[in-house]
Subunit: 301 residues, 2 copies
């Protein structure tokens, strides 16, 4: 089954404390999600790029079985973000942000995209995320969305309206606190489920993921890595692996959701091993299966 | 099989951001460890208390099948600690510390304690921890030890000497960084294993536990709780449940070590549900088994 993703495609400049820097490398929530999901299912991408977007990167996305007919080229430059990671790589500062063509992004779904059974609304303005749902042909099997603190604080009513329309909300622990006003993660999750989503995935970076649904909690650690080069995109890659596996298996049982969370964690664990999406240039599905089995060994008792 | 524990018995005064405070309640590393371990195996306690230690608390410890013949009463007052937890309960400040009788503590093992098959050296000066090992009748099945930043920074050479003599080192993630000089937890663990211990347990508070041995890594999340009243003693209770289960089962296989880590996590998850050791006044082994099964549901995929 196919997956529709709407989000950003960007160029990132990244500074790290121990692994140097990368300048103007492919980034953006939709890029990470799409490539991660592409290991499992066909992906339809809706995003905007500028006239400066190189053929090389477009070809890379196309080579991953990603349908680019919703990738609009607008006059101007592609979205750019510059960030610097702290010694504690869970913390980063934004040094520069140039929205460029992204500032006028108003996603329009091509006809062939409107009936995608799986939909991921990557981080953009929640009003625009809602506008994507308005364009769908009918209710898909699953709508998932992400957001960031910027929208939780600045577009709260739009976000709350959106949450009533989604099946799954994917955020990190700090965002969960901000949405709910609760410091304790379990109470925060309960409050968020009351806002509409049927389930909630809370990403905790190097500490793993907590999944909440009305009758079940699932906790899984992150795969322990000796080197984290660049955590950028880990959350979107997690979501891509997760929804990709669900779309491939077309099974929304609790047991399969849990396997999907582990697949998402596995893909994210590879992504952070190099800057940008570089690790995914060589990663194979066999590599994913191998690390999935290591994940089982890591956690079973 | 029995467990010897050497450490502190104290009175704690604890301030929390949302659950009020508790004044002069039973605390200390050896108290938490001993009571937690007592659910699984007989415990022999070596510690010092002052003349002010109430019969009520002594009776509680004795009621838990803890051999108190190594609990010395010294002239003066019992060790006292006052701490305040932050909004983020992983962080606390020490407001007051009165070592009192603990300042001259030099543990002496009663004869019947020297051949205990399981030994836990709770947090005290690493020189004194080594002195305990000198008093053992022969090599036990397992020696485990804990420490804190104070000794890692202030008694490093004594600690390094001790680490060559222990099977298992139990510390938190910040202490692991301090011992190893490595920020990354996997690299930190590898460096620490090179210092002597056969295995290493890294406690990460609400994020669970990582276990490292030369050929295996085990990661387990913490049990998600809606209310954490008082995290004091969680680490020692974890160690108590862990070593208690090992002593009860007398099985040091990797599979059983993993089960023991989950039992330790379960006991710790109860301890933090109330101040001091209060929750353990009513906790039953059945409660532990029930939550162990919930832990399986929480983590299986």
């Amino acid at each position: 089954m196919s997956i529709l993703v709407v989000g950003s495609v960007a160029f990132d400049t990244i500074e790290t404390p121990h692994h140097g820097r990368a300048d103007e490398v492919l980034g953006g929530s939709a890029s990470y999600f799409a490539v991660a999901a592409s290991y499992f299912a066909p992906v339809k991408l809706v995003a905007v790029i500028g006239e400066d977007f190189p053929t090389r990167e477009r070809d890379f996305l196309a080579s991953r079985n990603i349908d680019l007919s919703g990738l609009t080229v607008a006059p101007g430059r592609t979205f750019r973000w510059t960030g610097r990671y702290h010694e504690d790589m869970n913390v980063r500062d934004t040094l520069d942000l140039q929205l460029n063509v992204f500032s006028d992004f108003s996603p329009v779904l091509p006809d062939g995209f409107r009936d995608a059974p799986f939909v991921f609304l990557a981080n953009i303005n929640p009003g625009l995320q809602g506008g994507v749902l308005d364009q769908l042909a009918g209710p898909p099997k699953m709508i998932a969305c992400d957001t960031i603190s910027h929208w939780i604080e600045g577009a709260r009513s739009e976000l709350l309206a959106l949450l009533k329309r989604v099946d799954l909300f994917v955020i990190n622990d700090e965002e969960a606190r901000l949405v709910s006003g609760e410091r304790n993660v379990v109470r925060a999750a309960r409050k968020i489920l009351d806002l509409g989503p049927k389930s909630l995935l809370i990403k905790r970076g190097e500490y793993g993921v907590l999944s909440f649904s009305p009758n079940s909690i699932f906790a899984v650690p992150a795969y322990p890595l000796e080197e984290v080069f660049d955590p950028t995109g880990a959350g979107d890659s997690f979501a891509g692996g997760f929804l990709g596996y669900l779309a491939q298996t077309n099974d929304l049982s609790e047991a399969n959701l849990r396997k999907a969370i582990v697949y998402g964690s596995v893909v994210a664990s590879f992504v952070v091993e190099d800057f940008s999406l570089r690790r995914l240039h060589t990663l194979t599905r066999d590599d994913i299966e191998r690390r999935y089995r290591q994940f089982v060994s890591l956690t079973e008792f």
